[in-house]
């Protein structure tokens, strides 16, 4: 883990959404962000635990850290620098 305290630049609330909508929304949000910016994502879809890191690995972004907060999950996703 690069750092324990992660500050976010924006928050995306995906609570109540089911597969595949969390990754669809995250994809759209991250597309509008600058490299290095961090979005904090709230989600209730349990599949997101596997889906969000897989999505990040495939798209060159990074799940900096995630945790459970009561009834929902919290992910911190940092936008990567375009590779290609």
């Amino acid at each position: 883990m690069a750092e324990l305290e992660v500050g976010e630049d924006m928050v995306l609330d995906c609570r109540g959404l089911r597969c595949p909508m969390p990754v669809v929304r995250i994809g759209r949000e991250v597309a509008g962000m600058g490299a290095g910016q961090v979005v904090k994502v709230l989600a209730t879809d349990r599949g997101a635990v596997a889906d969000v890191p897989a999505w990040a690995a495939d798209t060159g972004n990074e799940v900096v850290t995630w945790h459970e907060a009561g009834d929902h999950l919290v992910f911190y996703i940092r936008k990567g620098f375009a590779e290609d």
Binding site: G16, L17, R18, C19, P20, M21, V23, V24, I26, G27, T44, D45, D51, W55, D58, T59, E83
Partner: protein, 190 residues
């Protein structure tokens, strides 16, 4: 690992070095492989339950930055029909896996009106659980440039017209699908 190639004649590569270089090059090549960024899905079923998987997977593929195409054939054409709201239904008949509130015989679930009831129940349940409606998933697909291709053969056999289908649908045959599929690592028949 770094290899000093400037020390004139002093370069010694071990088998392990060569293996590592090959591994890195292969990994790099795989990352650049355009087929890894393409998904090609056939949607062949036209019931409410079977309409979900191709649209969910195509949306997820697009969200992961892939070029996705869904080829709708046979009953799958229902999903992109302008009237899909009324055409795409689900029936418990002949599906012993469908969860029912109480066990029911096929002769009962086959009665007139039961299909509409089962469809309404499934839609309500999905909505209550926060599952996106088919309309929403189709919208996501179109907004994220998923190609929706209708099978020209089935359209003719079933007596549809091209104008029966929603905006943005393309038309093609097995050749069009294969041309997409051979350039895609992900190909699914649903």
């Amino acid at each position: 690992m770094s290899i000093d190639v400037s020390s004139g004649g002093g370069l010694v590569l071990t088998h392990e070095d060569v293996r590592q270089i090959v591994r890195q090059e292969v990994e790099r090549a795989l990352k650049r492989d355009p087929a890894a960024r393409r998904a090609c899905i056939i949607a062949s079923k036209g019931t409410l339950d079977w309409a979900y998987p191709p649209l969910i997977l195509a949306s997820a593929a697009a969200a992961a930055g892939m070029d996705a195409a869904v080829f709708f054939t046979f009953y799958g054409l229902n999903i992109i029909h302008k009237d899909f709201g009324r055409r795409v239904k689900v029936s418990p008949v002949g599906n012993p896996a469908m969860p029912m509130p109480v066990p029911m015989a096929d002769t009962f679930t086959g009665l007139p009106g039961m299909k509409d009831m089962a469809t309404a129940m499934m839609k309500t349940k999905f909505k209550r659980k926060g599952v996106a409606a088919l309309e929403e998933l189709l919208q996501v697909c179109r907004e994220s440039s998923v190609r929706l291709i209708a099978c020209a053969l089935t359209i003719e056999v079933f007596g549809f017209k091209e104008s029966d289908f929603i905006e943005g649908v393309e038309f093609g045959g097995a050749g069009a699908f294969m041309s997409e599929a051979r350039r895609s690592h992900v190909t699914l028949f649903i």
